[in-house]
Point group: C2
Chain length 653, copies 2
């Protein structure tokens, strides 16, 4: 708590028993480690070459490009995370390193503004000839995101100016005008980045370019097919079908006509984020309507209970409504990060708590399942059920790991987790456009300052939400001021005690928007104490999900739980949860502070009379034996060695 | 029943209410259709070019090779099926066509004996440089099998002589001697074919060559790696891993050291068939022991209840013990045909009924599931659960079809089904080596003549086994003769009434070998009447199979049943089967004669109070509603349009 100062207005300084440790891990472990990795100094890891590519492009070193076609984006994502860290805590050594990287990027940039080390070093002259596969605008987007974050954090313009020149160049290359390319990137990203660039610079042209890319997507004749023919039908990734599978890149239809979440999950949510951004900035009702439809389809038909999205490995993609296999799930960490981006924008567009509910679900489950408790190992894929003995043998599970991997086996997810957690403060509060309502979206401890109805107020949140559902909010306006504090009633909660300066009232629901609105003239010293009832709740899936039918998953507060072999033995599928048994909670060593495990009396089904060698037989009947079941929060699984895991358990009917 | 003559000794003339129709389909529909297909005369189908390849190779026509590298094998398999048909019913028109094809093959054959149209036309000089991928010996094997069958059926030697010359040439190319290739084929087949060639010609050298190929497999240094380096590391199927995935082709270990069924399922069972052949012909105890271990692993750990094998699409392969996903099953029709080949050989090696039980299971379920009831459409893949709405969307199911396809979408399975059904008579009886026991393996109606203890006896079986479990066996020896008739007690049956000339006795089990042995001096007119109790039996999977745990599959007699949407509505996973309810049987239009459907009162589980839009929620509880469940035999599924299907149903506990 060495940063107990009041942050800049609108920003949040987090001090939370649960989240501060994650932020520390990002600051002290992940970002320094990734810096070493980007510079090829991690022993045993495949070289990244990302910084070296820029050095070669800048003429500082001789050599050749090495890495994936999107290698530059690793530098952008790292810089962005650094920016968020600097925003909440100055660190001159880190800032010096970042300034050096920015110097390098600017040096590598071409006179016309272009910067992409793959094309500059490996395929000069082939710029913009393979948007479907080569992530050129995607890489540009990540540099732009980094630049806007760095400018906001430090006020330094160097990178911002560089990416603005790049964006201007891109605007000269792409557009409806004759002679320009009528294309868009295979992997959406630049669209949302350009909105950030507009927000920082105030330049409408970036908003226009973002909208152009969005609206161009899915038009006929299909751009990816055209450019493919034009370049002689070559493929960068011949084993994938990025060019011809238009669903994969959400280019099967104009974005405004898309009503179901299809294709690569990360691309879809990045696209939706940009659509919501544009809808917000330009009051584009058509885009808003498309966002709503896609949101509903994701959240009501294609999302895992953990907030994971993407039901199959092929294409890292969505499949069909209500098709949510727990064992084959892809549920990429990055996709849940992107879902949070999308949710955050929807909250700004129309303030209903359902968006924050999903943000919370994805954050507390899939996103942090993506990293080990010590911040050194990562999941790319977040299955809801794992039987290690078939991994490596049944190739349908080739994407599934039972233990987290070092950084470089899955390079895209760790930096995404890092930049989200480093900027977590941006997700905790919202303010209404009129400045009269302060929405509390997430119950995460820390301090913020907000201008409410023109008067600055400091809000301090002290939270033990993750352990016992208690939150204390102190309100300190510069002077007495009337405004509304809107407390999100989480979707999992059916009773909250709200005490205002000691006067208590019980709420069973929020208003129509899902928030409990408290409007008054707030004075310094006003204190809200919240006690969310946080019972263990057996959750069911929609009866159209065949994979979860007649099963339950335990949830307590924001956490979805799971069974692990370490606590429950092997063959988890033989376990059953009776209805109505009493749950007991415990705090245990090895889990984050305040986190509770759940124990409950359950059953293990076994053949009454043993079973012989035969694979199929008419008997004996199953008999249930009482066993003690122990559940741990899903995010904490696979921190105790390799073993079986299952979120869903059969419910005794 | 126009063929009610007594067949040649050891052969069977089938007249069966169930099987005669299948044989008719093979004779009247499948074999004529395939002849048209092989000659590219099927409108709308992709050309086969198989006959034309031979015409070009023979110099009769100009042109280029077209088709798969193993295209020749289609001609071999077709000829083999024709041979079996001719064996049971002369057909001069068909024989003339076959003679013409044989003329053509002989004309195409090179002077040195080699014949393979792919290499002769497309890659001359590259013979034997890519055994791992190019199926060269595999194609040779199918020609050899055709030749031996045709010789047995017609006594004509032309093809037999041709393939003998080819085999002699192969023996000159391959072997342990210096200067020869120490290789073996990627796809096992020639091994079992060479044993047939030995059996027909009496030439030990063919047996030796077969054993050489078997024993060479899996030796180090690895032949496929060596030939790959030698030919410049080229690949015929770059998207597959036939060269480097040694498990795939069972070349990861010497065959005698293999104890688990790994890799491509068809290859494994073809290999095991040859191993059993060699074990039988040469009394090779090591091979027999390896066969036993592999058999046990397949049948006790890696086989579907339908007799299907291969749990994954990738590599059309086995996965792990007790890993039997019903929806992702590969269970290739050809693999079950091959399993029957293996079982038949094991029966000869050690006469226990378990081998015939599996033969029956695979035959009555997966093999005939492979074709539509009208013989015009085929399944390559035989899943045990299908939800059509996710097919095409969830790419894990890309191999699964909900409706059977025309011949050419799956060219390997239909001819395999044809040759098995055309030779079905060979699977019904066995005779002990000493000639004193006649084993009845399958209860299929028809007539056979056997030499028992030196005296010829005609056995006539009249069977309604598939509908009511009744079988009548009439024994007509040329003169009174003592021998044993051993009646297989099927694994699904726990009570059979056996009446000998009207004197009845009830058996609850067979002898230690699984057969009921009846030894007496048989006289003309002796009649056995069998009544197998054929109750509907809910079958369970081994408790280590997570995918079938707490579910049951109904079986009646040899048939495994399934639920179809046509009878039970959608969302079959919501159905439950209570224990102890009464089953009723019915004969219905649209199913083969005598086949019964099963009805039983069951339950559909549904949320008590409906369910809203939300994907996850804490309630309401499930409530069960009584519904009438109808099951049909698995083999008959997908004959009434597209719909859901499931073999397994949750059992009410």
């Amino acid at each position: 708590m060495n940063d107990n100062t009041t942050p800049a207005s609108g920003k949040v300084q987090i001090h939370d028993p649960f989240w501060s440790e994650y932020i520390r891990l990002v600051r002290e472990v992940m970002v320094p480690y990734q810096w070493e990795a980007l510079n090829d100094r991690v022993e045993g890891a495949e070289p990244s070459h990302a910084i070296r590519n820029f050095k070669i492009a800048a003429g500082r070193e001789a050599g050749e490009f090495y890495g994936m076609v999107f290698q530059d984006s690793d530098v952008g994502k790292w810089l962005e995370a650094v920016a968020y860290l600097l925003e909440t805590k100055r660190d001159s050594a880190l800032e010096e390193i970042a300034d050096g990287v920015i110097e390098l990027l600017a040096e590598a940039q071409r006179d016309d503004g272009y910067v992409n080390t793959y094309f500059m070093l490996k395929e000069p002259g082939k710029e913009w000839t393979n948007l479907a596969e080569c992530h050129e605008l995607y890489c540009a987007g990540h540099l732009i995101e980094a630049a806007t974050a760095y400018f906001r954090a430090t006020g330094k313009r160097k990178l911002l100016d560089a990416v603005s020149r790049y964006a201007d160049y891109i605007a000269a290359v792409f557009g409806a005008e004759p002679g320009k390319l009528q294309g868009y990137d295979g992997h959406q990203e630049i669209e949302l980045a350009l909105v950030k660039l507009f927000q920082v610079t105030g330049e409408e042209k970036y908003l226009e370019l973002s909208r152009y890319f969005l609206d161009q997507r899915g038009q006929q004749p299909h751009y990816f097919e055209q450019e493919w023919k034009k370049r002689g039908r070559t493929l960068h990734f011949p084993q994938l079908s990025m060019v011809h599978d238009h669903l994969y890149s959400q280019s099967h239809l104009p974005v405004r006509e898309q009503t179901t979440a299809e294709g690569h999950a990360v691309r879809l949510v990045y696209m939706c984020t940009a659509m919501a951004d544009i809808a917000l900035e330009t009051k584009d009702a058509g885009l808003l309507e498309a966002c709503r439809k896609l949101w509903d389809n994701i959240v009501n038909k294609r999302m895992y209970i953990t907030g994971g999205i993407g039901s199959m490995e092929q294409g890292e993609s969505f499949t069909a409504d209500y098709d949510l296999p727990p064992d084959l799930a892809y549920a990429e960490t990055c996709a849940s990060v992107g879902l949070i981006f999308f949710a955050r924008r929807m909250l700004e567009l129309e303030h209903t708590s359902k968006y924050a509910d999903v943000m919370e679900r994805a954050l507390y489950n899939t996103v942090i399942s993506g990293m080990s408790l010590d911040g050194t190992k990562f999941f790319y894929v977040n299955p809801l059920e794992v039987y290690p003995e078939v991994l490596g043998k049944n190739k349908n599970y080739n994407h599934v790991k039972a233990v987290r991997q070092g950084w470089f086996t899955c390079a895209c997810c760790p930096p995404n987790v890092a930049r989200l957690i480093a900027s977590l403060g941006d997700y905790i509060y919202s303010t209404s456009t009129e400045g009269d309502i302060l929405y509390v979206e997430l119950y995460i401890g820390g301090r913020t300052a907000r201008i409410m109805n023109g008067i600055s107020a400091v809000i301090e949140q002290i939270s033990s939400y993750t352990s016992d559902g208690k939150v204390r909010l102190s309100v300190t306006p510069e002077q007495a001021s009337e405004f509304t504090i809107a407390l999100r009633m989480p979707d999992w909660c059916h009773e909250v005690q709200v005490s205002l300066n000691g006067q208590s009232r019980t709420h069973h629901a929020g208003n129509a928007d899902g928030y409990i609105h408290l409007t008054r003239k707030w004075v310094s010293g006003d204190t809200l104490e919240l006690q969310f009832a946080m019972p263990v709740t057996p959750m069911k899936g929609h009866p159209h999900i065949r994979q979860t039918f007649s099963k339950v998953a335990l949830q307590r507060g924001p956490f979805v739980y799971c069974l692990e072999e370490a606590d429950n033995g092997t063959r988890l599928y033989q376990l059953r949860l009776p209805q109505g048994n009493e749950y007991s909670l415990a705090e245990e060593a090895g889990f984050p502070e305040g986190i509770r495990t759940i124990s409950v009396s359950g059953r293990r089904m076994l053949p009454e009379a043993g079973w012989g060698e035969e694979l199929y037989s008419s008997g004996p009947p199953l008999k249930s034996r009482e066993v003690q079941l122990k559940f741990i929060p899903y995010f904490a699984w696979a921190n105790r060695g390799e073993g079986e895991m299952s979120v869903w358990i059969g419910e005794e009917q």
